[in-house]
Subunit: 223 residues, 2 copies
């Protein structure tokens, strides 16, 4: 009984959410601001990856960052050290951001002068995948220590993303991580998934990832 009630509410919430997400996307398309939603497990290296990505691409594009957390502001403070326009969103215990919360963040940060606004979502491989935030594109980060089986266990995340970063390849020698398997499992979920093995620590692999994001931002600006 309880379960049926929850699902009813969720469906109507999701339908409302999708409409709001579409409105966000339309508005951002008009002004040429690409909105990237970054999702992953806790501790996969979202902040470190984004700091390097934004530092490298800042000569070409103007970025803004929305850091979402249940509590704390460690990532926002790290981001501000790089002089990137940053705001902190607190979800008050919520496990994901929906289009409404993301929209409030976008108004707060002010997107008019930005080429790309990045949302660092709550660290969670499950719930954030269920909610369209209004992003132009979704990216997930999987890190080597987490293991190659994650696309088997958390299917939706890999379905809704167009790109997967495999982070922490600098520690590959110390973990049993199977690149062929993770590719096979991830492409099973989404055959069009772009895969970028990187080390946010050393910078290895960032050229391809940066080329991808640059192309995405420029394509979004075209009518």
């Amino acid at each position: 009984m309880d379960q049926i009630r929850v699902i009813d509410v969720k469906e109507s919430v999701l339908a409302d959410n999708d409409r709001e997400a579409d409105r966000t996307r339309e508005a951002l398309k008009k002004q040429g601001t690409y909105f990237l939603n970054v999702m992953s497990s806790p501790g996969s290296g979202k902040t470190t990856t984004l700091r390097r990505l934004i530092r490298d691409l800042s000569p070409k594009f103007k970025f803004g960052v929305m850091e979402a957390d249940i509590d704390g502001d460690v990532d926002a403070r790290a981001m501000q050290e790089d002089n990137v326009k940053t705001i902190q969103l607190h979800t008050g215990g919520m496990c994901h951001l929906d289009a409404g919360m993301a929209g409030r963040g976008l108004s707060e940060i002010g997107t008019k002068d930005l080429d790309c606004v990045v949302l660092e979502n709550i660290g969670n491989l499950v719930c954030p995948a269920e909610f369209d935030t209004g992003a132009s594109g979704n990216l997930t980060i999987l890190s080597v220590p987490e293991g190659s089986d994650k696309p088997l266990k958390y299917p939706l995340m890999f379905q809704v993303c167009e790109a997967m970063v495999i982070n922490k390849i600098d520690v590959l020698p110390y973990f049993d991580f199977d690149f062929d398997k993770v590719r096979e499992y991830a492409l099973m979920r989404n055959p069009d998934l772009q895969i970028f093995p990187v080390s946010a620590k050393t910078g290895e692999g960032f050229e391809a990832l940066e080329a991808w994001l640059s192309r995405k931002i420029l394509d979004w600006k075209k009518a």
Copy 2:
């Protein structure tokens, strides 16, 4: 508006859930079966930790394992290689297990002859912490590659657990992980938290963890 509706349902669901969890706990107390709920991020090493723990303690206690996943059965198959009584629970997209789902698992596995039944919850540092499964005790695993700041970002998980395993200490030299900080942050959330640094790969640190679980199981059996 949407948010208010969701919260109403959630509160009533949580109240129902707490009652069901209490009934589970009472029934398991009567028959002397300790129920351990294990929660963590995806890829922190829940299965590897549990395999070693159960293998080492099997001469003293009879274990059963419930593997919860959104999809797949990799962990259940691994567990069965060790000849441990195991069942796989599929949540169908749900990000956590509640008392009802855990209860169905307990009936299915049959707990009468077990000293300890372990639930390996969905890999998620957020939602599983919100739902009382009826467990006798909650344990969380944080792994070195995830970083020391997790108790700042995911407060509830560290509040509801009585023990925290810090796993993958064998890779400490390759990561910036601050033991003093993680202790400080975790104890801020729960001053009584028991902390066990281990490597599920090498077995380092398991004696203390096993002594803790043995004591928990034996205490539970006392009237």
